[in-house]
């Protein structure tokens, strides 16, 4: 599990209709700190915190600038020496979850 809620129930994951949007970036509203192998996150106006670990931390670090799904899959594939095909769905699920929780957002096409 890469995204861990530190309080409250774990939400269900819902994939969007288009799993390959143009680019993703960190949400400007996310308050965060990198602590060892984790990224701790808080959102203004919302109680509780999330903690990213493992591949989610790697994705967060790589999203220091906007990236496409392809770029993220390439990055993780190289980093974890894993075939692209075996991780692509997991990355899609992770991005959908991070987006749903407001930590990342899609960059409108032609921007970012």
């Amino acid at each position: 599990v890469s995204v861990r809620e530190t309080s409250g129930p774990r939400p269900a994951v819902h994939l969007g209709a288009d799993p390959t949007p143009s680019r993703f970036r960190r949400s400007a509203a996310a308050l965060f700190r990198e602590v060892g192998p984790e990224v701790l996150l808080a959102a203004p106006g919302r109680a509780g915190f999330d903690a990213l670990s493992g591949a989610a931390t790697a994705v967060w670090s790589h999203l220091g600038r906007p990236r496409t799904l392809e770029e993220l899959v390439d990055f993780l594939s190289e980093r974890y020496v894993a075939p692209r095909a075996s991780i692509e769905l997991d990355v899609q699920v992770l991005l959908a979850e991070l987006t749903r929780r407001g930590w990342i957002e899609e960059v409108p096409r032609g921007r970012g």
């Binding site: 530190t6 949400s27 400007a28 509203a29 996310a30 308050l31 965060f32 700190r33 990198e34 602590v35 060892g36 984790e38 701790l40 996150l41 808080a42 959102a43 203004p44 106006g45 915190f49």
Partner: protein, 370 residues
């Protein structure tokens, strides 16, 4: 900063991690000192620097897991404070109140290479004196409670530094109308600091802060006029600001002269050199050499001694005009009942007589602040 035990030396050395000229790295903490070292890092808010040094292979520590756990807890707290800060500032802005973020969040997000290096424990805000009452009202509407009541109506805006509030979630907001309590806080012009402001991004919002030069001024004041011995984090803030390359040394010198702050800055620069063992720039040395008025030197001395009423008497001297001095002295002697109650010990009946005995103790050479 305390005496030079091996533990103090280790902690001071870590406080200089990442600064140009810092020596003694990699730093190895003996097994027997590990618990004390970790406690000192927490007390001095140095867990972030500890983690950074450890991750860079510059800190040898047998219980790195404990350091990681401490930093994790501290950072959860910091994120909660930032969340509260955004709410407080939004409400201030809605009321048209100009507010500058001081210390922790502003320094962490602007001067340090990674905000995780700079933990903080509360929210410090500067508002104009003219906005003081409106700002207090905003905090009270949010459900925050003032920790110590105003001694007399009008005292805050005339003589006070600020007020501490506790929010419903337990976090504390230190609302300032000047940077420090006492004579130095009265001599400086806090409204002028609003002309030397900048911004930083937090949670997608642009918040106002002091410019780097004013941040360094505040860090010096906080380091020297705050807890004694000085805490290491404010000293590190001074060193971090110096290293930013964005200090307007001419402006700092002008403030030092015009606001009688020379002795405080000189002591801050000297303490940074002594405690962190890093060199300060020539411009700082030059400010340290400035001739200061006697009253500024005496005010600095007084801040280190409660004897003969130290800070209270120094503040009285700094207040211009006989009528204002009388008003200040009257408030010290006859504060409101609510203030008196808040300053009494647990189970102790509020008493003017006990309060009036303090000057007698001062004259006899005892201790006890106002």
């Amino acid at each position: 900063v305390g005496e030079r035990s091996p533990l103090v030396s280790l902690t001071r050395r870590l406080a200089s991690y990442g600064l140009a000229g810092a020596s003694g790295f990699p730093l190895d903490v003996p097994e027997a000192s590990t618990d004390g070292f970790l406690s000192a890092l927490l007390a001095q808010r140095l867990t972030g620097l500890g983690m950074a040094a450890w991750e860079a292979g510059q800190l040898g520590l047998s219980q790195s897991g404990a350091l990681l756990a401490s930093q994790r807890e501290v950072m959860f707290s910091v994120l909660g404070i930032e969340r509260r800060l955004l709410r407080v500032v939004a409400d201030f802005e809605e009321e048209g109140i100009d507010v500058l973020i001081l210390k922790g969040p502003a320094v962490a997000h602007t001067l340090y290479p990674d905000p995780a290096w700079r933990p903080f424990g509360d929210i410090d805000l500067l508002v104009r004196t003219s906005d003081w009452e409106a700002a207090c009202a905003v905090l009270e509407r949010q459900g925050s409670a003032r920790l110590v009541p105003e001694p007399r109506p009008g005292f805050d805006t005339r003589f006070g530094k600020g007020a501490e509030y506790r929010c419903p979630d337990g976090l504390e907001v230190d609302l300032h109308r000047t940077l420090v309590v006492g004579p130095f806080g009265l001599w400086l012009d806090p409204d002028e600091l609003f002309l030397h402001s900048d911004t930083f991004l937090l949670g997608g919002r642009r918040l106002r802060r002091l410019e780097d030069t004013a941040i360094m001024l505040h860090a010096c004041l906080h380091a020297i006029l705050g807890p004694n011995p000085p805490l290491l984090m404010p000293l590190r803030d001074v060193a971090q600001a110096m290293a930013s390359g964005s200090i307007d040394w001419n402006l700092l010198r002008e403030w030092a002269v015009r606001w009688n702050l020379g002795p405080v800055l000189a002591r801050a620069f000297g303490t940074v050199e002594e405690a962190l063992e890093v060199p300060v720039p020539g411009e700082a040395r030059s400010i340290s050499m400035l001739e200061s008025p006697r009253r500024a030197r005496k005010a600095l001395e007084a801040s280190f001694t409660e004897r003969a009423g130290g800070p209270a008497v120094a503040t009285l001297r700094a207040i211009p005009g006989i009528r204002a001095k009388a008003a200040y002295a009257r408030t010290l002697l006859f504060p409101g009942r609510a203030f008196l109650t808040s300053r009494s010990g647990v189970g102790e009946r509020p008493s003017y007589v006990r309060r009036w005995l303090k000057p007698v103790r001062w004259l006899r050479g005892g201790t006890g602040g106002p």
